[in-house]
Subunit: 267 residues, 2 copies
């Protein structure tokens, strides 16, 4: 069997999704299907969908919308051929009234005809681009989850959805900061250019060693902390809004698309 | 009175909107508040708003969404300080079930609590950028409305909204085509880079001298026709969908924002 013999990291996005659909891969997707865009997933009943769309559109850096499915649509005909959103994410989080109630490998039994699925860009894409140009990505070097911080910058409200901007931090050597801005600016659909460079206290971050989510990483001599908008921002807004049901991917367990990272570059 | 003495073309966006609000300007806005972004306006009841948002998101070149107001919101707090969407467009078209029923200078009497307003980018922004770099814009030179053509390229469906891509054509000197691509690519929120260069018949256009909307312009020796996605595309999709009510700006009578064209550039 070709699929069994082949290493998981060598599978194409389609092969990987099929393996996930069969329940054979329920772990994080970092490092898999390299070169292809992975996406955050948010599934909501139709009555919340316009507000969430508005929240994302008004906050494009933390919430870059890659694709939206029509109400009730679970088969994907666009950026992930043959995919089924009910089965093709390795692990789902199920929230009810803002509380995490369940984590599961498929959501076929929970599917509702009025569910609307949003796919949001993920920073894996620009991290690959940074590494390819010899810009270090510290949390990958240290084998950690990226450090994330709640800022004092409010997002623009979108109906019932509101909350602060949450950022990730990557320490960048001073002489490479400009290049890091240029590279990530090429990818507006995966958080784009930094939202802040250099002074954590100006955006309400008191202690870099105590991130609100993820793990702290070392900032070396000659490096400056650079902050990018983070995909946890919409999740926090979702939890604040407390919709009666909402399903997301489990963090790190992303939806893997057929779209090349380079197809997301603007220039 | 300063406002009376000042030429209309010299007014700031805010001053111009106030004059429009008082009913003193109900003509086209081309050439006014130069340097500032003007926008297409689409106003729909909430029940159609998600589908229209989806249609725009899936067709970003013809339908670049600059801003969306919350349901019922008519005062604008974001990109046009102090503006009121019920009064600050020079002229409105009112469609019922897909038919143009009325043209008026304000819509205060028609306003509904469930109206959602979309602002879409307008090619005036990139035409200014082309002219500034000595790339000719023929219909402006000839004092005409831009020629527009219905193509054989279908838009992606967004719920009830569907239809063909409609394009504008500008003849560009062969040696300036690359530069025209580069310049317009900087402005993805106002239709961005061309959708086609050089072969009208490949996109279903049989006769350049017979545009579907607007007026034909001369294509000179040594020029190639270059096609950009057009803001009439969403209007056509709206007419196909026949919502019971829909209000747009009257073509050419745009909403003038406080946003600089350069604020819309990505690089």
């Amino acid at each position: 069997m070709r699929l069994r013999a082949k290493g998981i990291e060598k599978l194409s996005p389609r092969e990987l999704r099929l393996r996930i659909r069969r329940g054979e891969w329920a772990k994080p997707t970092a490092g898999l299907a390299m070169g292809y865009a992975q996406a955050n997933v948010v599934i909501l009943p139709y009555r919340y969908a316009f507000d969430f769309f508005l929240f994302c559109h008004r906050n494009p850096k933390p919430c870059p919308v890659l694709e939206v499915l029509a109400p009730g649509q679970y088969e994907i005909d666009s950026f992930a051929s043959g995919a089924d959103i009910r089965t093709d994410v390795p692990r789902y989080n199920v929230f009810r009234h803002g509380d995490l109630k369940d984590t599961r490998k498929d959501i076929q039994e929970l599917w509702q005809d009025d569910f609307v699925t949003f796919f949001l860009g993920c920073s894996f894409t620009f991290e690959e681009a940074l590494i390819k140009t010899h810009i270090p990505v510290r949390h990958i070097e240290e084998g950690k989850n990226v450090p994330m911080y709640i800022t004092n910058i409010p997002c623009r409200d979108g109906g019932i959805f509101r909350g602060p901007l949450i950022v990730t931090m990557r320490p960048i050597p001073l002489e490479k900061v400009t290049r890091a801005v240029q590279i990530t600016a090429r990818y507006p659909f995966v958080h784009g250019s930094p939202v802040h460079i250099g002074s954590p206290e100006k955006i309400g971050i008191k202690d870099l060693s105590g991130p609100d989510f993820g793990e702290a990483v070392k900032v070396k001599q000659g490096e400056t902390p650079v902050f990018w908008a983070c995909g946890v921002t919409p999740q926090a807004a979702l939890l604040n809004a407390k919709p009666d049901i909402c399903i997301t991917h489990t963090p790190g367990h992303m939806f893997v698309s057929d779209m090349l990272n380079e197809e997301l570059a603007t220039s």
